[in-house]
């Protein structure tokens, strides 16, 4: 039993409180989802719950009481909690301490004094359960982001802790891997506390807690996921089906019945919305029979890939972890130049001859890999200054870009002091300032809360409407279905689908091949009248309130 009362925390005396009087009781075996936007205090609370703050990280100022199993946790030594509590950090990659999957999965139990055979047996079972057995002897450095995230989660499960705390465990996982983690959550025998920026996975939990600005503003059951007003007030989006249906329903059938009761279908609007728009525009990028092997490897990461990207289109690239999405996009952006077979043409000219620098911009998943300047303005202006642009031109263009991204009032702020949503916008703006015609975004919404996600994607959509060609790599089927027209799906380095997104999500042939799954809203729409609705915007057009 966990009993927390009057918990307050600040990282430094001069900084504001991150947690402001948290009171919380958790019973053994409960499965709790704690949701909140960026900066709500989730990560701090996860560290306090696991004992890391203040037992290992003693820097901040803490008030309140935390009782666990009759002990005051703040008076214990961390060794007293060894093996009882486990926390998956948000930066899961930094949490991996071994050089191979096998060694990582046995590290925790071995350090708890367990024998090698027992530890390995448990590790093998876990790896098999989560589809990691083929990677069991692989080095950590050779894994994709999603595979690393799974390894980090399994390394905690290997110690069978009484309380498992996961801070955003799904960020880098493809939908099938997410399903595996959700299955684990459903079957977990201990106490499970998962921190997320959304309530999309509400169905796996007994209890949903919503945090905002360091406070718990709601603590109730699954029905919390349908409290649209409260969630939006906290900067969290309700699941698409509930947004469409106007509230919570315990099952898909009931949600559909509720929609049928309150809404009517407009067939004319649907035929307009679902019409395939074949734009007669030239291709900006043509890829012909492309194959790629990383230096020093024998495995083909991309195999005989051919497709075209039309000028001004908005393309979503989807596929399982390790399917070759990022590699393909880095080749298109001219970052990886040495592809072994095939040809790539940009506006009709081979990129091997001319290069694409300045024409194709690439926004990385982690904004912190590129931010270095002392102010937001200098960071965004960097690419132009590198090209030797005149001061007046730099000022006007950077000013315009900051306006688009809503960063004008933060012009003189230190980029590192801003929330992740803003850092992602800065990273994006600092690439766009060079005015590339094609913009490739690698998982632009990872780690962003609902409002930041919508804000960023709306800006990108706006840029697309002004003629920019946009390519986004994404694991979010909601994003793939909400933004853009076409989908490129990869599996095992091969294209399994390239075309209209409605065709992709119709039936499960293509989605299965690409190891992704349709959204709940799509499933609900098919259940309603067999007409596929891709996103909530389309739903509100085609289903009108009676």
């Amino acid at each position: 039993m966990i009993e927390i009362s009057g918990l307050k925390y600040r990282y430094k005396k001069e900084l504001p409180e991150v947690l402001k009087s948290i009171n919380l009781s958790i019973n053994p075996g409960e499965k709790i989802l704690i949701a909140g936007k960026n900066g709500a205090g989730k990560t701090t609370l996860s560290k306090i719950l696991s004992g890391i703050i203040p037992l290992l990280d003693k820097r901040g100022e803490l008030e309140g009481q935390y009782m666990y199993g009759g002990d005051e946790v703040f008076n214990l030594k961390y060794a007293d909690l060894k093996g009882k509590m486990a926390l998956l950090f948000q930066d899961f990659e930094g949490q991996i301490v071994s050089t191979s999957v096998r060694e990582e999965l046995i590290f925790y139990p071995m350090n708890l004094g367990k024998f090698y055979r027992e530890s390995t047996g448990r590790a093998e079972n876990l790896a098999e359960q989560f589809g990691m057995l083929p990677l069991f002897d692989r080095s950590i450095s050779s894994l994709s982001g999603g595979e690393k995230q799974k390894t980090a989660i399994l390394s905690l499960l290997s110690a069978s802790p009484e309380i498992l705390i996961l801070d955003e465990p799904m960020t880098d996982l493809d939908p099938f891997s997410q399903d595996m983690i959700l299955e684990m959550i459903k079957g977990y025998r201990g106490t499970l506390i998962v921190f997320e920026q959304s309530v999309d996975f509400y169905a796996c939990f007994d209890r949903i807690i919503v945090m905002n600005d360091g406070l718990i503003i709601s603590d109730a059951g699954k029905e919390t996921a349908g409290d649209i007003k409260m969630l939006e007030g906290a900067g969290i989006g309700a699941p698409e089906v509930f947004r469409a249906a106007g509230g919570y329903f315990p099952s898909m059938k009931q949600a559909c019945a509720g929609i049928k009761k309150d809404f009517e279908f407009d067939a004319d609007k649907y035929s307009t919305a679902s019409a395939v728009r074949n734009k007669d525009v030239p291709a900006v990028i043509q890829v012909k029979n492309l194959s790629f092997i990383y230096p020093g490897s024998r495995e083909e990461v991309l195999s005989d890939v051919s497709f075209e990207i039309k000028k001004g289109e908005f393309l979503a690239v989807v596929g399982a972890n390790g399917s070759g999405k990022t590699t393909l996009m880095k080749i298109l952006a001219g970052i990886y130049k040495d592809f072994q077979h095939g040809e790539i043409f940009y506006a009709g000219t081979s990129i091997k001859k001319r290069g694409v620098q300045g024409q194709v911009g690439y926004v990385y998943q982690n904004p912190d890999n590129q931010i270095f300047a002392e102010t937001v303005f200098d960071e965004i202006a960097f690419a132009m200054k590198m090209k030797g642009a005149a001061e007046s031109k730099v000022k006007s263009r950077v000013g315009a870009i900051m306006e688009i991204f809503g960063l004008t009032d933060k012009s003189e702020a230190d980029p590192f002091s801003l929330p992740k949503g803003d850092r992602q916008k800065i990273a994006c703006a600092s690439v766009l300032v060079s005015e590339p015609d094609v913009i490739i975004l690698d998982e632009p919404t990872t780690g962003l809360d609902y409002l930041s996600y919508r804000g960023l994607m709306d800006i990108i959509e706006e840029l697309n409407s002004k003629g920019k060609t946009i390519i986004t790599i994404t694991h979010s089927m909601e994003a793939a279905a909400s933004y853009g027209e076409r989908i490129l799906a990869l599996a095992g380095g091969k294209i399994v689908f390239m075309g209209d997104k409605r065709e992709f999500f119709s039936g499960n042939f293509h989605t299965k091949a690409a190891s992704v799954r349709p959204t709940e809203l799509m499933e609900a729409s098919l259940e309603l009248n067999n007409r596929l609705i891709l996103n909530s915007r389309e739903f509100s057009k085609c289903w009108r309130k009676k």
């Binding site: 301490v97 590290f107 350090n111 024998f115 090698y116 590198m386």
Partner: protein, 253 residues
């Protein structure tokens, strides 16, 4: 591209106990260092190449071949000019070549090659865990052995972070591999800031991660059941000792 050479394979060399592997490596070094006859060094080179073939580790050999041959060539060239014998066979100003210089240069180059090949064979057939486990099994404290393997993990983390940072900056037109010396130095600042900030963050997280996963400096790890010395391992160690003894004997014969 991986920084490491090891690839799990099911060959007789990969299957050796980590202790047998490290002892064999030390003895191979001893043989290479002791041997002063060209034909014996050539036999050792041939033997090592055969072991690369047998352990299906030709890929690391291919990756390093150019570097090894360059080192061998440099060694050969340097010793030709720096070897000091008693009989001059060539002299032009400050350049003097003595009798025996070519032989000494050849043997030095071969010795260097054999030392490098032995090390590469070990790195291709022994994982980092093999190395740290063998240290623990030889009585080195766990914290020392683990820190050793952790440093390699950190190298790969920093290398991948570094390459991501370089890529991200190149996309924005800041290529540290282009331009003159001053331009290159200037282009490194935007790389260093994120690298240092990422590095500090990662070091902080790693410390917390280690302690939160039960690691403590005084932990004792029980490796029972993970490795066992089989008769085959003993045979390999005995064979290596015999070869080393023969090489030392040949040197003093």
């Amino acid at each position: 591209m991986s920084l490491f050479f090891y690839k799990k394979q099911e060959t007789f060399i990969h299957r050796l106990d980590p202790r047998a592997k490290i002892i064999s490596l030390i003895l191979l070094f001893a043989i290479a260092a002791a041997t002063r006859l060209v034909y014996l060094q050539l036999i050792l080179t041939a033997g090592l190449l055969a072991l690369f073939f047998a352990s299906q580790s030709l890929e690391p050999l291919r990756r390093m071949a150019a570097l090894f041959l360059t080192i061998a060539f440099m060694t050969f060239t340097l010793w030709i000019f720096f070897y000091e014998g008693s009989v001059k066979i060539f002299s032009a100003g400050p350049i003097v070549i003595y009798k025996g210089a070519v032989y000494f240069a050849v043997i030095s180059a071969l010795r260097f090659i054999n030392l490098l090949l032995s090390g590469l064979l070990y790195l291709s057939t022994a994982s980092l865990e093999d190395l740290s486990d063998s240290m623990v099994l030889f009585g080195v404290p766990y914290r020392v052995a683990f820190t050793f393997s952790l440093s390699f993990r950190l190298v790969s983390v920093f290398a991948s972070t570094g390459s991501a940072i370089v890529e991200a900056q190149k996309v924005r037109g800041n290529d540290p591999e282009k331009g003159g010396l001053f331009a290159r130095i200037k282009s490194y600042a935007p790389l260093l800031v994120p690298l240092i900030i990422n590095g500090v963050k990662k070091a902080e997280i790693l410390t917390l991660a280690l302690e939160s996963k039960g690691f403590a400096p005084d932990n004792k790890i029980n490796l029972t059941g993970k490795h066992s010395m089989k008769p085959y391992d003993i045979m390999v160690i005995c064979l290596m000792f015999a070869l080393t003894t023969a090489a030392i004997a040949a040197r003093f014969a």
